[in-house]
Structure formats: C-alpha cells, structure tokens
C-alpha cells in the first residue's frame, strides 16, 4: 500500500485495542500514513462492535471497525509470545510511531517499553493512550468511555438539572483522547524527524477532557466561582436547543448577532425594545426573551428556519439526524461522503477527513483480518512462505 501520498513515508505500528488508539492511527491512515494494525489472532476487539451489515454479526462487517480500521493494513501477531515480540522488534526498525493502550507498565513487561524501543530506533515516538495516564494514584484504575467521561468533568456539565448527569452520544471520551493523541503524535513525529528527538507521549483521557472545560474551569480556578451546574438544553434564551415543529432548533446568539437574530425570527422591532437593548438587559429579562424564543421555535419548521437564519447570517441551526447529514446539500456538495466497496460488507459510506489538505485524499476500506500478513512478513520482512506457515502453526500470527 505504500505509495506517493505525502505521509507514505510515515509508518505507524498500532498495538492499541480501544477506540482512542484506533482513531489516532486512523487519522494517520486517512492522510496517507502507512498504518499497520497488529491484531490478536482472534481479531481486533473493535471488530466485535455492531451494528453489522445485514444485522449478522461478522468480524469483517461491524460499523466501528469498518470506520476505524479504514485505510490500515492488517497483520495478526500474538504480542504475548516471545516470537511475537521479536517479530515486533524487527518491525520497529522501519517505524516512526508506535501506538499502544495497555494498562500502564504492561508494555515494559513485554520488553517493548520506550527504553527498549529507542535502542532499536533512535527517533522512535511511542504514544501511550490510557484513561488516567501512566502514573499517579489512579493509573491502574479500570475505565470505559462512560467512566472516563465522568472523570474529566464534562459529564457534570451535561444533562438536565433534575436528572442524572448525561454522557455525550457515541464514544466521545475515547474520541477526544484519540484526537489529542493524534495531534500530539503528529507534532512529536515531526520533531523526531527534524530534530532527532525521540518521545514517549503519555495521553490521559481524563486530562484530555479536563483540558476542554470551556470557561467553567478557569472561572473556578481564578474567581472561585462555580457556574458549572448542568443546565439542561437551554443555557439562556440565546444559547440552547428548543423544540420546533417536528424537530429541534439550536441557537447560539452572541451579543454581536442580536440584530441578525431579531431579523431571522421576523421580529425586527425587538432591537428597539429597551428590555433587550444590550447583552446585560437581555440576561436580566431572560425569561421574557426565552418565552419569545420558545413560542417562535414551536411554530417553525426547523429546516426552513435554518435556511432563513443562514441567509441573514444568524447563528441558528437545526438538530441534524443521521439521515439529515446524508441529505445535507452542503455536505453533499463538498463530497464529504466516500463510497467504498468492501468484500464482506458490500458498498458502504465513510465520512471524509476531518480537514482537507491540498495534497491528500485517499478513501480506502478496512482490511480483512490478517489481509497483509504475507505482504508484511514475507515481502517486506523477508521471511519465507514456509517460515510464515511455521509462525501460523505456532499461533504467533
């Protein structure tokens, strides 16, 4: 698969088993990096996540793996076996980045810790993504996406005030950690390449989320003022999600957008209303303004309201379902969706890259389990076909 894409000389070995690590390496693959996911013989654990094509569980057709495995090469390897470890050490010779998410300390127990790796490649970058980081009193604690979301403070901000705090949809704690790991790894890889500085990057999901607490954390830290109590769907008349006629409308009106907002809801006279003359008065008379917004939203078709507001440049959106995302003229016009054919799942749609670089664009499907074993072990590492058969017989690959 190595080709002329600009990142094709960046090789990533992925030992991770969770979403964070898989998302981190998926982004390198999406921009042309040569990512090899080293799967246990039973397959990457994320292959077990449904839903599946035709609703039949199959290790090749889970939506999570079809997404996060896209563009990576797949080779199987039992990293717990001595032979597996020595094969891995040989792969490291050609690698720039290694990504792992074992419990802290385990990579050292396998003899593949940072000190061992940098003896093999002077400029290696090892990325460790874990719920709590490599050290500290909770380093060994167990976690899932849900508990990680709770540990970083974002869950306390989410949900209705009279109900339990709410985790965000999907697997956001994992994705946030994975995105931070990707950016940190990209910076470290550039540094290692330019300045020959190796790096062990320690990414803690808890810290990633605590790093994104908007104004709530700095206000507490500096003013000792806690305004973080969760406030449901409506922060104020100007910021919130409001029920509309079949669907929901979202407002995020900053002070400078006030006149545009009044225009968007066909109430230009509000601009002259002394109760709402500036941000402070609008906050003081929030209840009255909120009543106006609720009443307006309840009569609106959300899609029409969105177009009307967009035309006058008021920051009003409607809550898009997944189907709305597929039907969005905006997203379609930008070719956000990439159709790829997969031997087991058939034709599927992948979302496009998180940003556009002028020189890279390569939709690719997820690999089948062990699809690149021969290519990696024989063609690139020089083992014979009979050696590979021996490794298979010993259940190392």
């Amino acid at each position: 698969m190595p080709d002329s894409a600009p990142l094709s000389d960046l090789r990533v070995l992925d030992l991770s088993r969770g979403i964070a690590g898989a998302f981190c390496t998926k982004l390198f693959a999406q921009f042309g990096g040569d990512v090899i996911t080293l799967e246990p013989l039973s397959g990457h654990p994320l292959r077990r996540n449904g839903p599946f094509a035709a609703d039949r569980p199959h290790r090749e057709t889970g939506a999570m793996w079809l997404y996060l495995g896209a563009g990576k090469r797949s080779a199987t390897l039992d990293i717990a076996a001595r032979t597996g470890q020595s094969l891995f050490q040989r792969m490291v010779e050609e690698a720039n980045l290694i990504v792992e998410d074992y419990p802290p300390g385990m990579i050292d127990e396998l003899g593949l810790g940072f000190d061992a790796l940098r003896r093999i490649v002077r400029r290696i970058v090892l990325v460790s993504v874990t719920p709590f980081g490599q050290d500290g009193p909770c380093a060994g604690w167990k976690a899932t996406n849900l508990t990680s979301f709770a540990s970083g403070g974002q869950m306390s901000l989410t949900g209705d005030p009279d109900r339990e705090p709410l985790v965000a949809g999907g697997q956001q704690a994992e994705y946030q950690a994975g995105l931070q790991a990707f950016a940190a790894a990209a910076v470290a890889a550039f540094n290692a390449d330019a300045l020959e500085v190796p790096q062990h990057i320690d990414i803690s999901a808890q810290e990633c989320m605590a790093s994104a607490l908007e104004l709530y954390l700095p206000w507490w830290a500096y003013l000792k003022r806690d305004i973080s109590k969760r406030r449901g769907n409506v922060l104020s008349a100007m910021v919130g999600v409001f029920p509309a006629k079949e669907g929901h409308i979202g407002l995020h009106i900053m002070p400078r957008n006030w006149p545009r907002f009044a225009k968007a809801i066909s109430r230009p006279e509000l601009v002259e209303d002394v109760r709402f003359k500036d941000a402070r008065s609008r906050l003081q008379n929030n209840d009255e303004l909120e009543a106006i917004v609720y009443e307006w939203a309840s009569r609106e078709d959300p899609r029409e309201a969105y177009q009307t507001a967009g035309a006058v440049r008021a920051p009003i959106a409607f809550v898009h379902t997944i189907q709305d995302l597929f039907e969005s003229e905006q997203l379609r016009s930008r070719d956000v969706y990439q159709r790829v054919a997969h031997p087991e799942a058939g034709e599927i749609t992948l979302p496009g890259p998180p940003f556009r670089m002028s020189e890279v664009e390569r939709p690719a499907r997820a690999s089948l389990l062990g699809e690149h074993n021969e290519e990696l072990y024989c063609d690139e590492m020089g083992l014979s076909r009979r050696d590979l058969a021996r490794l298979r017989a010993a259940r190392v690959v």
Partner: protein, 399 residues
C-alpha cells in the same frame, strides 16, 4: 478568536512554538469580554480567566488588518512565519485580500489553516455557526440525550476544542510534508465535518441499515450494568460499567451480594441487558448511602470500572491530576497568580510547561513592530496615530 483557533495555537504554544496572537482595537477576542468581574473592573480585558487560560504561552499584538498599513505589516510578518491560523467567517480573509494565493506569494513555505464552520465552499458556506451549533450540525446533538427524550446539547461548545485539536494535528502533518516538498500548503477545516469524524461509526452504520439511531441516555448497546447512579450528598453521582461476567461478579461481591451473580435475572450478559432496570435498582440501593468517592474506591478495588462524576471544582482539586502535575501556577502581570490546567500532551523528552502568561492587550507590540519588523519608534507612533495599532480595545464591541 474565541476558543477553536486559540485552542489549536494553545496546544502548539505549549509545545514551544512562538505564537503571536493578532487582535485589533475594534476586533478583539470575545473571550477577553467574558471576565466574570464587574464591568467597571480596571483593565478587565486583561483579567478574563477564560482568555488567560486559553492564550498562555503566546505573544500578543494589536494590528488592524482592514487598514492598508496593517495588512502590509501582516504580510511582512507572514513572510517570516511558518504558520497562519484564522477562524474568521469564511469570506473574511478574501475580503481583507489575504487569501492563500496572496499569502503564499509572499512565503511559499507558509502553512495556512482556515477553520470556518461549514468550510469555504457549498451553499451554506456563509452561514454563521458557533460551537453548540456545530454539534447540532454534525449529528452529535441528535445522538446525545436521555432515553425517549429530546436531542440534548453537550455541556460545552463542543465543536470548538475538537476543531482546535484537529487543527494542531493538521499543522504538524503539513510541517512533515513541508520537510519533503519544501513548500507549505493550504488546509481547510470545516468544523462540522471535523465533528462528524467523531461519530463516523454512525455514518457507516446508517449506510448499511438506513436506521436512525435512538438516544439511550447513559446506557450502552451491549454492556449492562452501564449507568450513572445517585450517591449520598446533594447531586452526587457515580458511573459504573461492567464489560463482562468477571467484572459483574466483582461488582456483586463489592455490593456484598455475591448471590446476585447467580440470580437468573442477572446471571449472563443477555439476561443482565434485558433486566437492567431491576439491576440498576439494586446498584442504586447500594450507592445511595455511600459517598461517590467511597463507592468508586470499593468498586475499583474489586476491579470494576467506576468513577465519580467529578464536578469542575473537583476536577481542579483532584488528587490524581494534582499528583501528575496537571495544574501549574501562572503569574500574570495584571491578573495575578493562579493555577491553570497544563498541556494535555505529556512528552517524556521535552516536557511542556506554562512558560508565559497570556498577553495583555497589545503587550508585545514593541517586540513585533521593532524586533520582528524593524520599525522605528516614530513609525510605531504613526501607526498608533492612524489607528492601525492601539494599546486598549474598543470596549463597546462586545456589549
């Protein structure tokens, strides 16, 4: 301005990049206005905790890009820089005649990154979107919410930090490429597209089954128990999840009810999933008389994933985060000394720290104009007289 772009440059500044934040008297960062302090506070714009947290490790200069001399000076700065990041509305850089074609003409090695909500093309390119709109436009809001309830906003302007992190990574990739090609490039980041990549599995799933996913609160599609349970105290909660039989057995012994593990209603993964309402009641009966900290300790000692829902003040005081040195003191000439969250990227060989407080408005004008651009004191005074630069912001802008 605000959070998305400044979060990207914060990550890079933490790593040691020299970041110069450009504001102007009439177009200054709205975060400076969110002071949380009385409006009469002296130099309030330099005391905003949100701004000062987001812009540490950066320099600041005041330069009005809409004035010809300001634009000219910006081009001279761009000529000696590696990266330009902007998160204006889609058309602003072109209106300023500072599009990529203009910038790359003065510096072929320059990497330019724009991050408008919808990107720079398409029928909605001119629509204005902020962080909570981005989650509405990307499917995340639709997926968030209590079972049977409406779509729910997350607790933060979610689109902002996500776009910021991705932008920092994009810049690093472009630097990698530049070492090979010798020239920079233009990167376009549409914030809603970035956030869609954080729910990508739902796009794939929909393409296979055309089914709209339903909101499931704190529950998981396979794990049970998996929820948020009330603890003793006022509005105190713990999250608990069991990934397999072994963790469930450990949960039962921590609850001092080992018999439950053999109760036919809960004995296996499928039964637990089907009977999770009853299971949740059993767990809640145990958690409600315990503090969330004690409950988490007990469950973690048994090997069960469990974590208190930490409020923001608790995150700030968290022993684990403190032991890892996550918070660092920063000393600001106007705002004083306080603790702020440090870099989320922990690098073993070049550990990053907070080296500089956030810039006061126009603090580094002299550094930028004299040292970087070689202007004389007279020329700087002239710029000030023309309003190309200034030392304090026009306060009415964000009222």
């Amino acid at each position: 301005m605000a959070w998305a772009g400044p979060y990207a440059t914060r990550l890079l500044a933490d790593m040691g990049a020299e970041v110069i934040k450009i504001e102007s008297v009439d177009n200054w960062d709205v975060l400076r206005a969110l002071t949380g302090q009385p409006p009469e506070t002296e130099r309030g714009w330099d005391k905003s905790p949100y701004f000062n947290q987001t812009n540490r490790n950066k320099y600041g200069c005041s330069l009005d890009l809409s004035k010809p001399d300001g634009r000219e000076l910006f081009l001279r700065l761009a000529a000696q820089s590696d990266i330009v990041i902007e998160n204006f509305r889609a058309e602003v850089m072109d209106i300023l005649n500072l599009g990529y074609d203009v910038l790359s003409a003065v510096n072929d090695r320059l990497i330019v990154l724009s991050m408008p909500g919808h990107g720079k093309t398409g029928p909605e390119r001119d629509f204005v979107t902020y962080g909570t709109n981005v989650e509405q436009l990307s499917g995340l809001c639709h997926l968030t919410g209590y079972e049977g309830g409406p779509p729910h906003k997350t607790g933060i302007s979610y689109g902002d930090p996500i776009a910021g992190i991705a932008a920092a990574g994009a810049i690093a990739l472009a630097l990698w490429v530049r070492r090979r090609t010798g020239h920079g490039q233009y990167i376009e980041l549409a914030q809603r597209e970035t956030l869609i990549s954080l729910i990508g599995e739902y796009i794939v799933a929909f393409s296979m089954n055309q089914r709209e996913p339903s909101r499931q609160g704190n529950r998981d599609s396979s794990m049970a128990p998996h929820g948020c349970y009330r603890c003793s105290g006022d509005d105190e909660w713990i999250t608990i999840a069991c990934e397999n039989d072994a963790q469930f057995a450990a949960l039962c012994s921590a609850l001092e009810q080992p018999g439950i593990a053999h109760d036919p209603r809960f004995a296996d993964v499928v039964s637990r999933y089907r009977n999770q309402d009853e299971l949740d009641e059993t767990i809640c009966a145990w958690t409600k008389d315990r503090t969330k900290e004690d409950a988490a300790e007990a469950l973690q000692s048994a090997g069960v994933p469990a974590m208190p829902v930490l409020g923001v003040p608790e995150v700030f005081a968290d022993e684990h985060l403190r032991a890892r040195g996550f918070f660092e003191p920063v000393s600001h000439p106007i705002a004083g000394v306080w603790d702020v969250d440090g870099p989320p990227w922990r690098m073993s060989e070049s550990p990053a720290h907070i080296r500089l407080p956030a810039p006061t408005f126009a603090e580094h004008n002299r550094y930028v104009f004299r040292e970087l651009l070689g202007l004389s004191d007279e020329e700087i005074a002239e710029l000030q007289a023309e309003g190309v630069t200034g030392t304090s912001p026009n306060r009415t802008v964000h009222d």
